[in-house]
Symmetry: C2
């Protein structure tokens, strides 16, 4: 099957390409990043266009390799912080690119199914306990707002033009090659032999941590389980299991030296949710099984970190 | 006061410029349409840039005439039908232009208040009776979806960057110079002496009809009544009075020849709401008074139509 991945050179994109190529698909990618042909092949990409998600590049891919049966749309902003520093950049990467992609599909490949990666950031900060897909969405950052707008474009093209779109709201994805966010930050400071690890927040913030290799398999599986009834659906890509920031820190330290002391500032960042936990009922209905428990995921992350740092 | 109007050459834009210039503001405009300096002056515009809402044009306006205190943002798609035929065009006009405008304001004029014209189309088709601003939004067309996304961008820039944005959801605006939609269609066919006026729908569809001259005054008044507490607010720009399509047709015919027979197909268009009626509590709180009753508005429209057709 011909499968395209936008943002294939990103953190999740690379893992997804590996997963899809490993199950026999012909995978092509478009997005930003200078990959030469050898490197692209090594990642599992039969071809790669380094550039915008626009009609010119999509036409070029189609002309060279045929129309896709599925597009995994992972291109977009990937940082709350950057979205606050440069909101128009985040808008362009997340919203405008999606508008161009959907418009191209409407005209050129209306039967191609879209699987779009969104984020639990659309839910905002006001939820307690597991959050279902039908919960109120009140994003707190431009990042979350733009992801919501991306979803709405998918919904609009599904409703008005019959495109088949599945939106997967990813929660706290971590794993090998992630060079930012909490785990990266903690390991970097453990590696620098900081005696006291000072972290923001209270430590009690709950997140739904998922290993990127599971997430890649999840995205591929969702595409295999299309909805017969609806052209548009939203699925939580979370495990339904919550773990506090303090427990993540303790888990990493335990696998590192076991001695570092953690101090939380006790001051929550404005807009930072106390809890982001998926109601995983829809995923269970699809029959998806998470295979990498947090213990193993953290151990693998530490192993990867030490390997790349050495 | 220096006031800018985007989309100043549109149906509502022209009436708004007239209103603002008439109350002593220095009004400048940007948007599409070839207006020479004489025509722009006649409309009430001290200057006009024919082009996109982008940083280059906004910088040019600011350099020539100073920064604005208020921007009325009326540029955007203006037709449900066009949004279905060419959704990317509607996206670009409504969403992308707003993203560029807000980003420019964030950097260059963060104290400028924005009054953005949205639409009751954001509410969708599922409402009965007066619709309050907090009602569920489920737009049915790309036009409505993109208007909602425009609102969300305003909300995001207000929340994250402190811009002051007021969104006014306009209902069924009609009046002199409107050369499309129901009233135009009926008058055109009365003018062509059709004996039987065949209309789609059931005739029982309820809309909240507002004369564009009242709407122009409303937008200007909303800007004069800023919210002290919030940086972002949404206000219904409807009268709270509903009138059926059949009664509008009867009203126009009564003022034309009184003899034409109307036949409704009885078949509703998919996605066409049975009722779009504003809960006007917030407008009443501001103290806005509608001055042009429907009877007078329809009479004026017929007079204008006959004048421009002769």
């Amino acid at each position: 099957m011909i499968v395209w991945v936008t943002g294939a050179n990103g953190f999740i994109g690379r893992h997804l390409v590996h997963e899809l190529a490993g199950t026999g698909h012909a995978v092509h990618g478009v997005g930003h990043g200078a990959l030469d042909a050898t490197e692209a092949r090594r990642l599992g990409l039969q071809s790669w266009i380094n550039g915008e998600i626009d009609a010119a590049n999509l036409n070029a891919l189609a002309a060279a390799h045929g129309l896709p049966t599925r597009i995994f749309h992972l291109a977009g902003g990937s940082s709350v912080g950057v979205s606050i520093e440069r909101p128009f950049e985040d808008f362009s990467r997340t919203v405008a690119s999606t508008a161009r992609l959907l418009e191209w599909l409407r005209g050129s490949a209306p039967d191609c199914a879209v699987i779009a990666a969104s984020s639990a950031a659309v839910y905002g900060a006001d939820h307690v306990g597991p959050i279902s897909e039908s919960a109120v969405v009140t994003p707190m950052s431009p990042y979350g707002q733009h992801k919501l707008m991306m979803e709405q474009l998918c919904r609009s093209y599904a409703r008005s033009f019959g495109l088949h779109c599945t939106v997967v709201r990813l929660f706290s994805v971590y794993g090998p090659n992630l060079r930012k966010q909490l785990l990266w930050d903690i390991c970097s400071r453990l590696n620098a032999k900081e005696q006291v690890l000072a972290l923001g927040g209270t430590g009690n913030e709950i997140r739904d941590w998922t290993d990127v290799r599971d997430v890649a398999r999840l995205l591929a599986n969702v595409a295999e389980a299309p909805s017969a009834q609806e052209t548009f659906r939203v699925i939580n890509g979370g495990s339904g299991r919550g773990t506090s920031v303090a427990d993540i820190a303790a888990g990493l330290i335990g696998r590192w030296d076991g001695k570092t002391v953690v101090r939380h500032s006790g001051v929550s960042r404005p807009g930072d949710p106390m809890s982001l936990l998926a109601d995983d009922a829809m995923l269970r209905q699809i029959g998806f099984d998470w295979r990498i428990p947090l213990d193993q995921g953290l151990a693998d992350y530490v192993t990867w970190f030490k390997g790349q740092a050495s």
